[in-house]
Amino acid sequence: MFKRVLTGLIVFTFTLSTVAADEISTEPSRVRVFERSADRVATATVRMFENAVHVPLKLLIDEFGLERKRLSEDRIGICRGDLCIPFDVADKDGALRRDGKTLWVPVVPLVEALGGHFVWDVEPKSLLLDLSDVHRAATWKVGEPFELQLPDLEGNGVSVERYRGRKVLIYAWASW
């Protein structure tokens, strides 16, 4: 799915397995990368290999909390907790590309395997990533367990679980 959205700036949104080949320069470019689950923004180099967006493995590990596991001579696992996504290190589609000391990770297969989501903005060039398992987070249903954790006004995490044993009315409101 490829979508062009005009909102005063030009924004390209693309979800899994989509590549806007002609819209991204094949030259490496510096972009802002935001990752939702780590709540971090970093400036990083992204580059294209055969029209697919790649980011440095180091970025995912240093900034966004993923881990690497060496599986064999030419196979590396990129892991979030117990979940490890194996990648070949090779000069082919969907693999980790080596360029000098840098290992480049293809964004689409990584995000797809982790169950995450991403958005690419052309102006200003930014990559928005969600490397958590967002697809498993289904909607809540009546009669089923409900859990929610959010920070209070001082920034301390509050979980609804702490009210177990009492009925709870949750009231969502806004100052505006």
Binding site: P151, D152, R166, K167
Partner: protein
Amino acid sequence: MPGWQQFYAEHKGDKFEFLSVAVDVQGAAKASKWHNVARAQFTTVVDQEAVLGTRFGVKYVPFSILIDEKGKLVRGPTPVNVGKEDDRQEISQWIETGKAPTASGGDEKGGGLTPEQLTLRLRLAYAAKLQAGGDVQGALAQLKAARSLDQDNWLIRKQIWALEHPDRFYNGRVDFDWQREQLRREADEKRKAAREQRDNNKRDNEPREEVDDL
């Protein structure tokens, strides 16, 4: 909020708890003011990414959610007005007898979030991050991109207003007359844009005289 504080004071104890969720990209600073004005004794948490509304598929606030003693969802998002006797009674009765109130609102469809909802959530999270870092323009760009995915989402539309026109929101009181005006202005702009689009299309489709290129 003062109404809920009173309700809370009357019902709190080992049977009942009240949790207020402030939905605001701008975070705790804006929310705490209203919490303090109400002299609230209940807990207020901040939902910067509108997680609650997004996961239920609800595009408005305020709404309420009821959870039972076992932590199970009793009733999904439902508008409730603490100023109305009927609404208060319904909740009181539920607390005392466990009789679940009627009308379950919200989107009951299961199966996770759509790609649009995921993009929406990602943009809201990024907007919150940018706003926290002082980049209001960047935050607005993300919110506007989010709005284009979901035109009738009030959560986003009003956040944009609050960032673009803080004087209408944080100058002592929320200016609801201005909001009605703003809504009219936006509707006018939309109609105008649609009209221009139509005119352009018409012009493009009109037969043109053949002109010899000399």
